[in-house]
Amino acid sequence: MSFHDEIIRLDSFDFVEYFRSVRPEDVRNSLDRDEQDQCDLLNLLSLTAQDFLEEMAQKARQMTRQYFGNIISLYAPLYISDHCSNLCTYCGFNAGVDFPRTKLSLEEIEREADAIAATGIRHILLLTGEAPSQTPLSYLEEAVKIMKKYFSSIALEIFPMDEEEYQVLCKAGADSLTVYQEVYDRDIYKEVHPKGRKADYKYRLLTPERGAKTGFRALNIGALYGLGEPRKEACIAALHARWLEQEFPDVEISLSLPRMTRAKGIIEPKNILSDIDFVQFMLAWRLFMPRLGITISTRESAEFRDRLIHLGATRFSSGSKTGVGEYSLKDHDDATVQFEVTDDRSVDEVAEMIRESGYQPVFKDWELV
């Protein structure tokens, strides 16, 4: 039994028709229940539920405070290579985009780590494109070992691997795994991943499961909004999260909502996720899974992120650079970025904003043992 079986089961379910059929009284009933099941999740994700947004927000805020406290955890991404053999039509790093590719040497990785650690950040997210020939396991293992000297939690957002390979990285010190399905709709998945390793839908879908079995203590998953039908994607992402929570009760599960923005060399986003939908999804998820981590990146603007603190978010990236070598080695103008950072405030500025909002910024929330 894997989440792939769930995906197959959901094939016959007409999401669009269900969302259309939701009545205000259904939303009311779902909101009034102590615990939300799959039907409640659907009701809360429906357009009808937007009339209940403030009430959802009040409840979500109260629940987030109760379960997580008045805190926001901070982390930063570190891109170590932008080599990629995939042809994801929506990604600025795809193999079809012509730009000089960079892969950091171990010394350069250390300089970047040092620069990030100096800002106070203790949780790092290590990223690469998907090019195992450029960034083999041994390279990643060394990179993780360097991270261990500077950070207390090491998350990976790299290409999907087999369990044996993950074991090597866990042993080296990695404790968390981020992998986005990008789009749960299988037809669209095929369309936007025409070639390369990533074309294998099922292998990618089962990556969080392999990670959990390997021993990662935290998983961060989600869809990229701008590809599939947003409500359906948000629903399946949440079902995926709950499935993992049930199968692997000792693993912390988080969801992200990366939204596509227009960029050079990539397709025009199909379904731009509006701010109101974005917030509604977060709230519905929070009511559905009280202990779910919700991660917000610097793709979102400063003004918007300031609001999201009160709407169920638990983790923010900050001071992020999304180009290889941008922390200490090259200027932003010389770097090719995966996505443009919209909230370009420093770590100190983000921490100060969190404090002013009545929350405590938490830099360290893990101990590598």
């Binding site: 000792d250 360290k364 893990w366």
Partner: protein
């Protein structure tokens, strides 16, 4: 008739004495600056800190620096999923200057943060051997209570309800039985959401309670700290008063059945 004086009533974990029976936490405050006035208002003398949040290299003030010297630190092993991880975290805590107290949390269910009693017992055995004053967070279980005692635990910390739920003493009958049989202090940890629930636990005979979420996420954590302190005192006095009543009753000759044994 003796008069009960709560101030004479000392609580011991190992050989360390406490006059307050309210244990508090540090994790969920909107600002760490609230910790000190909260401690003052609540009179709490033992406060738990997750080692995972301790950072001696922190750019700004580390969490430990927000705790006044007069208050003892109870580091916890939050994040540990196995006995082995809990043991390693405890040793790191000691090295970081947190002292010999350790609250063991071995948690294998992230949905309700429920403890693994087998792992907790194993970690208790090892750490008690190493001279730690071990306070294990546990699922209310009679057999494990005895085993933890034999393993050298300085207290038993059964959960009242899942952490952070504020649901109160959902485990009441089990905790009541633990109180009856435990040879070390029983601290009701987790789930206490209101002062009345804290009072209920104390009235039932718990030796102390640990309250974090309900204080830290209250609109006024300082007032909430005070309210819990008063509730704990009231519950304790009520318990002692009952005990006094029972003693008096037991010491008297048997007024109803004495005639059977002339």
């Amino acid at each position: 008739m003796s008069t009960i004086k709560a101030e004479d009533d000392t609580l011991y974990f190992g050989d360390v004495a406490f006059s307050s029976r309210l244990l508090t936490g540090t994790g969920k405050f909107s600002s760490r600056d609230i910790i000190e006035p909260m401690l003052e208002a609540s009179g709490s003398e033992l406060i738990t800190v997750a080692l995972r949040r301790v950072d001696p290299k922190a750019k700004e003030k580390d969490i430990l620096q927000y705790i006044p010297k007069s208050v003892r630190i109870l580091p916890n092993t939050s994040g540990a999923r196995t006995a082995d991880e809990a043991v390693r975290i405890a040793r790191i805590a000691r090295e970081a200057g947190c002292g010999d107290f350790i609250k063991i949390e071995v948690i294998t269910d992230m949905k309700y943060l429920l403890p693994d009693n087998a792992g907790t017992l194993k970690a208790t055995e090892i750490l008690a051997q190493e001279g730690f004053i071990v306070l294990p967070y546990m699922m209310p279980d009679i057999t494990v209570t005895k085993q933890l005692h034999d393993a050298g635990a300085a207290a038993i910390m059964p959960l009242g309800a899942p952490i952070g739920t504020n649901r109160g003493l959902e485990m009441k009958p089990m905790i009541k039985r633990i109180i009856e049989i435990s040879k070390v202090p029983v601290v009701v940890d987790a789930g206490i959401g209101r002062p009345s629930q804290a009072a209920e636990a104390m009235e039932m005979g718990a030796d102390a309670v640990l309250v974090n979420t309900a204080i830290a996420t209250s609109h006024d954590p300082i007032a909430a700290g005070k309210a819990f302190a008063l509730a704990v005192q009231a519950g304790r006095m009520a318990y002692l008063a009952q005990m006094a009543g029972k003693r008096t009753y037991a010491e008297a000759s048997s007024p109803l059945t004495g005639f059977l044994r002339p």
